[in-house]
Point group: C2
Chain length 206, copies 2
């Protein structure tokens, strides 16, 4: 996806800035922010420049100003509404994931095909997958998380696309086929761990 890396860094900067603010800081220099976010000061300035976010020569950046700019870019104010499809381990964990709270990410509904899994959880209503169409129309949600078994992932994905979902976070280890105007981000937990194992072993053998 275009600008992928910058977007992720900007989001990371925001998290860092919120942390700075919480401990009472009012301004930062690109150097401080870079250090906290794990990138160089030049990278920080370049990224801001790219998104027309400006600081003050010599005086650095006002944290509140930066946060306002970043929140404008990423829409901090309206809640981001999300569906979860698949009420297995991952799906259920995300239903109650605390990390979403401060980001105004709201799980609007969960879906599964197994009726035994459709008990309301964490205040979120769970539905049979058949209700997907109706629910999408009612709620205007356009982001969904796929947390179903691999063999079902493409089928579920197709359903989501038909229902008008435009962004998908996919936990199944397959490359989903989607139309051009649908965005997918893959979280492949096994591959993440396996690549770690690779690096660790590689490093030891040097």
């Amino acid at each position: 996806m275009r600008n992928d890396k910058i977007i992720r860094r900007l989001l990371q900067y925001r998290t860092c800035l919120e942390r700075f603010k919480k401990i009472g800081f009012e301004q930062v220099y690109s150097y401080n922010l870079g250090k906290e976010a794990g990138v160089s000061a030049e990278q920080v300035r370049k990224d801001f420049s790219r998104f027309s976010i400006h600081g003050n020569k010599k005086a650095g950046y006002q944290i509140d100003d930066l946060l306002e700019m970043l929140n404008k870019t990423f829409g901090k104010h309206e809640a981001k509404k999300v569906f979860i499809v698949g009420m297995g381990n991952i799906g259920r964990a995300l239903l109650s994931y605390k990390g979403f709270l401060g980001k105004k990410i709201e799980i609007v509904a969960g879906f599964d095909i197994d009726p035994s899994k459709l008990k309301k959880r964490e205040g979120v209503q769970l539905f049979h997958l058949d209700e997907l169409k109706t629910m999408t129309e009612q709620t205007n949600v356009n982001i969904a998380i796929i947390a179903v078994p691999d063999s079902q992932a493409q089928r579920v994905c197709d359903m989501l696309v038909v229902c008008g979902i435009k962004g998908i976070m996919n936990f199944a280890p397959i490359v989903l086929k989607v139309p051009e105007n649908v965005f997918v981000t893959n979280i492949n937990l096994s591959n993440e761990l396996e690549s770690l194992v690779y690096y660790v072993n590689e490093d030891e053998s040097v």
Copy 2:
């Protein structure tokens, strides 16, 4: 991390090849594999070339040969042993995550500081964080997953490093400070979702 992208693609190729094999294929061309893995045929050939994996002119690649090569590179045979620190939603979900089974990823132990969470689950023994040192020595595990609240993540990370852990999969939205010889891979679920929201909105406004 060096070669990061190639490594991930190679792991993805392996998953695809296993799927091809399961449905009875014996050979593939770079074109087929690329399509399934979501990359170009040239990319596939280039990646293989980089890791000295060779096919046959005109005849493509024998799936079994490829798998053998990839398994040699990534160590398919010995189980990859992992600790999980933090028995909250994410930690517990990973304990029972089915996706690890076929990859020979074995969760050896779970840790938490809350005694009420230390009931054995999914056949995995859970321990108080104080036992980390002992357990590392007993098991020779050198990969761990951090799934604790943000405020605890760096502290837990430091403990892991002291215990000799060399690879960390981090679910906390902070950039961990680690020595050079320790590898970290970050899974920031909020940021993944937020960037999706950004792309979807961006796309609609065009």
